[in-house]
């Protein structure tokens, strides 16, 4: 790799000549635009970006980014990306996946990538439906959801992707929304700055098979009432008039409280995304679905003190070389007891 001065990059540098084949109106367009506008800011040479995906609508992403790209097979992007990262830790590897790819067929690889803390940015586009196969329910679809494969309602209970990532002790877990462009870009920048595994769930609409997947929280009127934006070192406040907050209960659980009437900001939890333990972030990740609680977006966890997997692996190799000296092939071939035949 070269280390000469970086030429200034623009959004255009990351666009390809390939015709984008997502359905008109798909949330993926907005995510693509955000990524293309954030990448030039990251101070990484274009040839050092590698985008790796699995299978699904989201996984077509690499074709539309003028970087190195690998559209692999269903569910296996984390393992391919891990191989790239171990062999070449200096590469900037981003993984694009969906709710089916990352949580159903590739669930095993996803959790192992995160627990190892491989330095890969994972963008999970969650539209709560199987789009490419035309409308079956996914591991994030709601209980009892009626889809093509569940005409009488889905019997499955859904995964909460951020809970799963925190459960796997991912060191960076954030959530954003396709149409919240500014927020999404901030989230991508923060993910890029994180050295270890960065897991970003992006709530994304599928206007063909699951239109309005997230309207409950994206509608203009509902947005501020039903969404809480988590920012490090800020109190947990939400509501159109910033009149609600989240407070610890004596039993360790959390509760939503109205501000005023003796309850002030100082009673609320001040968000600590940098906490080394994942328990608190896990508690926050579980708010949605609880009556009266908002859906969290933003940074649930951003604790970057754990060494990256690829560094641990390569530092071990370097240490052994230091200790034993670089391998000598003749010595290797003659390992063990040898004897001469004359």
């Amino acid at each position: 790799m070269t280390t000469t001065a970086l030429p200034p990059l623009t959004r255009k540098d990351f666009q390809t000549d390939q015709e984008v084949r997502w359905c008109p109106g798909c949330g993926d367009y907005a995510i693509l635009a955000a990524v293309q506008s954030v990448f030039p800011e990251l101070g990484v040479r274009r040839e050092n970006f590698v985008i790796i995906s699995g299978i699904g609508c989201s996984s077509r992403f690499p074709y539309y980014m003028n970087t190195f790209g690998f559209h692999t097979i269903h569910g296996r992007a984390p393992a391919v990306a891990t191989g790239v990262k171990i062999a070449h830790p200096e590469l900037e590897v981003w993984m694009v996946t969906g709710d089916g790819d990352a949580l159903a067929i590739g669930g095993n690889h996803t959790i192992h990538l995160l627990r190892r803390n491989v330095g890969i940015k994972v963008l999970l586009f969650n539209n709560r439906i199987y789009g490419l196969t035309k409308g079956q329910y996914s591991p994030t679809s709601e209980f009892q959801k009626v889809t093509k494969s569940t005409p009488y309602g889905s019997p499955d209970r859904p995964f909460n992707p951020i809970s799963l990532a925190i459960g796997a002790e991912a060191t960076f877990v954030a959530r954003s929304v396709d149409i919240f462009q500014a927020h999404l870009k901030d989230t991508l920048r923060a993910a890029a700055a994180h050295k270890g595994s960065a897991f970003v769930e992006i709530l994304q609409n599928c206007n063909i098979f699951n239109d309005g997947a997230w309207t409950g929280i994206t509608e203009k009127d509902a947005r501020s009432e039903r969404v809480i934006q988590l920012e490090h070192a800020k109190p947990l406040i939400f509501g159109k008039n910033r009149d609600k907050g989240i407070r610890r209960k004596p039993d360790g659980d959390i509760e939503v409280v109205p501000l005023g009437n003796g309850i002030s900001e100082s009673d609320l939890i001040v968000h600590d995304a940098h906490h080394p333990r994942p328990s608190y972030a896990f508690l926050l990740s579980h708010m949605e679905g609880r009556p009266g609680f908002p859906t969290p977006i933003g940074f649930l966890r951003a604790w970057d003190d754990l060494p990256r997997y690829e560094d641990v692996v390569n530092e071990q190799v370097a240490a052994i070389i230091q200790q034993k000296g670089p391998g000598n092939l003749n010595k290797l071939l003659r390992g063990g007891d040898v004897w001469e035949v004359k």
């Binding site: 274009r46 040839e47 559209h71 391998g327 092939l329 007891d337």
Partner: protein
């Protein structure tokens, strides 16, 4: 060397087969490999057959728990571990029951007489004590109180009974060293090294070893001892090498010769795990080993490593191969160089994890969706695994293809003396990463090899996308056009076929034309070669052709097959190479098929040869 004194005779032999058999917990594999190492260092040619149960510790003393290690050592060339044994060491009734049928008449049987109590016999489901009835009449039986004698030798060390009893295999080993006039020195060195942090156990094992040796000397138990002079091997420096070790050092060598990082993505599976164990030791060669979360991650991480410019491999066995299928198809489609080692075992499904079989050939050939040709190679001996690793790496890197190596449990765990090459005599493996953006296309091909350029991430100006979707020829863009697809399918096939230009024409060993040709592949090499040799000495007009390249097959194979009246294909499967040869060459070949989790005996092959020649 110690010379036995007294009234014992010494007889010089060409060759001997010895088998150590006992409970899985009796240390029979260590005993066998120590004996092997000692005779190999002395200069005998050897072939070994370790045979152990899949259970780590089946209930002690039972038949399923019997573990055995057989060694054939000789002053001549050795091809097989031997059909029957001259000396059987049986540590308990179960081991005796399982192995007695293979002991030659008048063969030497050393039994641990301490383990033939009522309860021991019951565990082995033996109704009458074979040491007391006439079961053993036709053998030279040496009942030895291994447990009592070992305890006596070690009593002053202050070890508990269990620890003392664990040394009794070394007592038996010491006896065998006396019987074959072998020095205890290599084993003493091994014990010192192995137990360097436990000096008391080192002392105990050494004492037991020496006690066994002295016991024979003092009691003149055997009346006879044997001498097997060194073999006349090709001059050179030798070491003892197992198939899995050979693959491991072969890949390290290949990576060094190619100037690439070596990456292994693997998930533990019998009998392939030793490749992971071995390679994880060689980090000072920059080897990167990744114990993946499953078989699929093992192969896909290798694909990732290959994509970014490493020599990447994965090692597994049949069930793991089944799981890797889709990913190997991705490597075919994206034309990335990985090597897949399938250390075959009995199947289907979990099958016989520790037993050998050759039944993954058609899986390797065709076990992927759609038209997905992959080069397939098979080593013929444990030492050949080294050369196959180099050959597979060379093909993968030159043609930008995934390559499958079909080894098996017998080669993986079996060992032979291996003439050590010098690093300098192994040719370099040329590798070129694309760096020039001028006229670059990810699927633009080398006209001779049809390989696409290896354009790794980090190379300025070569940013491009690849994936599992069909590519447009040259540009590599997604393309669904009918004629383009057909063209790409044919190119991928032609690329594998092009490898044939590097495969030398084959020449059968034996008569250049005649009544019968035996065609074999993989681990059956030794047994078939030996059977053909013996039959030719009887004047039969036959020959042996052993294939190391199974896809593509050597260019002159069709012509060779036509020169013989009959063709026999012996395989440890239901006839998979046979199927391929019949389909490809329209030759009326017949099979000899054994599916017992065990290698061929020479005798089984010779019988079939005689049957086919109607003698």
């Amino acid at each position: 060397m110690d010379i036995p004194s007294g009234k014992t005779r010494r007889e010089v032999l060409d060759q001997a087969v010895i088998r150590f058999a006992g409970d899985s917990g009796d240390g029979m594999q260590i005993t066998g490999s120590q004996f092997t190492n000692t005779v190999a260092i002395y200069g005998n040619d050897i072939a070994t057959f370790p045979d152990f149960p899949a259970e780590i510790r089946a209930p002690a003393g039972t038949v399923p728990g019997v573990s055995g290690f057989q060694l054939n050592f000789s002053s001549g060339e050795v091809y097989t571990p031997g059909d029957s044994v001259d000396v059987l060491v049986a540590m308990n009734p179960a081991a005796l029951k399982v192995n007695l049928a293979d002991l030659k008449a008048n063969g030497i049987l050393i039994v641990n007489s301490d383990s033939f109590e009522e309860a021991d016999l019951r565990k082995a489901h033996v109704t009458s004590n074979p040491l007391e009835d006439n079961t053993l009449d036709k053998f030279r039986v040496f009942p030895v109180e291994l447990q009592r004698l070992t305890r006596t030798a070690l009593q002053h060390l202050g070890l508990d009974a269990k620890s003392m009893d664990r040394c009794k295999n070394f007592f038996a080993l010491g006896m065998c060293y006396w019987l074959y006039n072998r020095s205890m020195e290599p084993t003493v060195r091994w014990i010192d090294d192995k137990f360097s942090k436990k000096p008391l156990l080192a002392e105990a094992n050494k004492l037991a070893l020496k006690a066994g040796y002295s016991y024979c000397e003092a009691t003149e138990a055997f009346q006879i001892s044997y001498e097997i002079p060194p073999a006349h091997l090709t001059p050179g420096t030798y070491r003892n090498l197992s198939g899995n070790q050979a693959l491991a050092i072969g890949f390290v060598t290949a990576a060094q010769k190619a100037g690439l990082k070596l990456f292994l993505g693997s998930y533990p599976i019998t009998p392939a795990s030793d490749i992971l164990h071995e390679l994880s030791k060689y980090k000072n060669f920059g080897v990167l080993t990744f114990q993946a979360e499953d078989e699929i991650a093992a192969v896909t991480s290798s694909i990732g490593a290959a994509y970014s410019g490493a020599l990447a491999l994965t090692a597994t066995s049949g069930p793991g191969m089944a799981l890797k299928t889709e990913a190997i198809g991705l490597a075919v489609m994206t034309e990335l160089p990985i090597v897949i080692c399938d250390i075959q075992r009995g199947g289907p499904s979990t099958g016989l994890p520790t037993k050998t079989e050759q039944a993954d050939l058609l899986q390797a050939m065709f076990g992927r969706n759609s038209e997905a040709p992959v080069p397939v190679l098979a080593p013929s001996t444990p030492g050949d695994c080294f050369w196959i690793a180099l050959e597979a790496s060379r093909i993968a890197l030159k043609y930008m293809v995934p390559v499958i190596i079909l080894s098996d449990g017998y080669l993986a765990n079996g060992a032979e003396p291996w003439r050590i090459p010098t690093a300098e005599e192994i040719p370099p493996i040329p590798v070129k990463f694309e760096t020039n953006p001028e006229g670059f296309f990810p699927y633009k091909r080398d006209p001779q090899t049809l390989a696409r350029p290896w354009a790794i991430p980090g190379t300025p100006g070569l940013e491009h996308r690849i994936g599992g979707i069909e590519k447009q020829e040259t540009t590599g863009n997604i393309n669904y056009e009918p004629l383009n697809h057909e063209k790409m399918v044919r190119i991928r096939a032609a690329k594998v076929e092009a490898i044939r230009q590097d495969i030398p024409n084959v020449m059968p060993v034996g008569d250049p034309e005649g009544d019968l040709l035996l065609v074999s592949w993989g681990s059956t090499f030794g047994a078939v070669a030996q059977a053909v040799k013996e039959q030719r000495e009887k004047g039969r007009k036959i020959a042996h052709l052993h294939l190391r390249h199974l896809n593509p097959l050597p260019g002159n194979l069709g012509d060779v097959l036509k020169r013989y009246k009959k063709v026999l294909v012996p395989e440890l499967n239901m006839g998979q190479l046979l199927w391929m040869l019949r389909a490809k060459y329209l030759v009326d070949a017949v099979g000899l098929n054994k599916i017992q989790g065990r290698p061929f005996k020479q005798n089984e092959l010779e019988q079939k040869i005689e049957e086919m020649l109607e003698v």
